[in-house]
Amino acid sequence: MAARTLFDKIWDDHVVETLPDGTSILYIDRHLVHEVTSPQAFEGLRLAGRKLRHPDRTVAVVDHNVPTSDRSQPIEEADSRNQIETLERNVKEFGVPYFPLLSANQGIVHVVGPEQGISLPGMTIVCGDSHTSTHGALGSLAFGIGTSEVEHVMATQTILQRPAKNMRVNVEGTPGAGVSAKDIMLAIIGHIGTAGGTGHVIEFAGSAIRGLDMAGRMTICNMAIEAGARAGLVAPDETTFEYVRNRPFAPKGEGFEQAVAYWKSLATDGGAHFDREVTLRAEDIGPTLTWGTSPETVLAITDTVPDPAQQTDEGVKAQMQRMLDYMGLTAGQKIAGTPVDVVFIGSCTNSRIEDLRMAAQIAAGRKVAPGVRAMIVPGSGNVKRQAEEEGLDRIFLDAGFEWREAGCSMCLGMNPDRLTPGQRCASTSNRNFEGRQGPGGRTHLLSPAMAAAAAVTGCLTDVRELA
């Protein structure tokens, strides 16, 4: 058999049938469901009189809408409450395993899946959310789907797809001080652009990627979609197996050993073909953040804001100027020192215990700058509990951060955690689109350590100065 990539192997192993025009019916091992993109799919099943084929391969959780404040109180926003109650009725009717709001296991679907061992290497995993690419860090083929596809998976446990092209992004070398997975991924997106991965599945490889822990790999794969890719992947290795071992829903004992043998067989073969390959050197990447309203608009914290006048394409020039106006920045200004109003540490990109530790290291013994609202939103109830066991909550609270309940929160502002017009936010989330964190809000994407640095200095800051 010809040399195959990790993606090729997972794909081949899940093709039920290939139709004459090249579209495949692809089997789905895990379907993750949340409250925002599922109600119309459940309704579709009901209207067509169809069953949900495999409730035992489906898991639901509430995350997008949920308040991250006191949960003993009822949910204030009526439409959010309705969406959550609708999910609760649907999971009951269709028999879907469900982590409710008050479960200790509740959290962001892309944190909960890996944490519980629901997402495993070698699987096909889908969810009605583009950041499903996160689970690719385990070496699974995981991608976001629309609600019609959610309904399709519910009814058939399959999806209709054409194979993606293969792309490999290598990051070689050793990251310098103050550089985490987030900085690496922002640098990658800056390099290949927000459409750089369109039509491709990106395998992340190279010594800098292999050196990352699972949380770091999840940060990388999470933002594969921001590079336009259908999915991101990291080959499963000992780091992966140790992470998966003993997770609540992972195979146990002999089953685990069988699984590991299978997972090991999935690594890309030597000589396998990649349609596109890009290599970055970790040493070239410094603490990185975005300046504009597209995730590809990145710069190093030591840089100045780019000047549209230096662009030759009129369309690009106009779009850059629009971004500068929206962001309230001036061409040529140093990005470091720009004052921030809000700091958000959370989201499916950066809300795991490892992320919180990085932020706590900077926050320890310091105070949130006057006038800055700084919030920590753990990715799950389990992350929150573990952080409290490690005393991280005390560090954050003593410094003046808010210590909140798990959910998507200010990443997309579907719950009350929102920016007001003109507010500038240092955010560990994944999208800096106009209005993403609230109408008129200005988002700078950066790492947890850089976000904590912004919180304590009150402005965008090179974290290396605080180390």
């Binding site: 579209t23 019916i25 439409d79 976001g144 596809e149 058939t156 209709l160 369109t198 685990f256 369309g315």
Partner: protein
């Protein structure tokens, strides 16, 4: 799903790249449990001023483009979130066809599921179609799916590509779940084979 065969309609130009799904429909409008009713919030931030009144400079607030059924944009249309609310909002506004040099993958898929035809055409041709779209009430393009051509106001025909299976579903207005369920026996066979080959693969049950 409504069939898509031919469409002769007003086209509106949105000469921007990377129009993301947050721009098409901001997250705060995703709290519905319906597919319909999102049209009034399509392109909300571009369409309305901060006081809630219409922005007169935005093309979809102007005649004749308030009735546009075709949208022409630049690269990477629909990037960002997987929210199907984006094509639902477009459809509810009245858009049945989107034309761009390139699309984000999930948005591209989502369009087909809702009877919206996404057409990839080179940037130079999109520029020409945008020029056509400026022609006021003459800004009509005709999309002929059976023949796979876009017909410009000057009669010129621009051919486009589409997967045979997707074309079939659009032309017939078919629900693809029904199509896949015709292959149910093969799905069951696959499941039996997988259960044997990967007996370690857990299923999920909560107590």
């Amino acid at each position: 799903m409504e069939k898509f065969v031919t469409l002769s309609a007003i086209a509106a130009a949105l000469p921007e790249a990377n129009i993301d799904t947050d721009k098409i429909i901001p997250a705060r409008f995703l709290k519905t449990t319906q597919r319909t009713g999102l049209g009034k919030h399509a392109f909300d931030a571009m369409r309305y001023l901060p006081d809630g009144t219409e922005n007169p400079d935005f093309v979809l607030n102007q005649q004749p483009w308030r009735k546009a059924e075709i949208l022409v944009t630049y690269d990477n249309l629909g990037c960002g979130s997987s929210r199907e609310h984006a094509p639902w909002a477009l459809l509810d506004f009245g858009i049945r066809c989107v034309i761009a040099p390139s699309f984000a993958d999930i948005f591209f898929n989502n369009c087909f599921k809702n009877g919206i035809l996404p057409i990839r055409l080179p940037r130079e041709i999109c520029d020409e179609l945008m020029g056509d779209a400026q022609m006021g009430s003459n800004a009509r393009l005709t999309v002929d799916l059976p023949r796979q051509v876009v017909i410009r106001p000057n009669g010129e025909e621009v051919p486009f590509e589409i997967d045979a299976f997707r074309k079939h579903l659009l032309l017939e207005g078919l629900d693809d779940i029904g199509q896949t369920l015709k292959h149910e026996a093969n799905i069951t066979t696959y499941e039996k084979r997988q259960d044997q080959a990967k007996s370690w693969l857990p299923t999920i049950h909560f107590d």
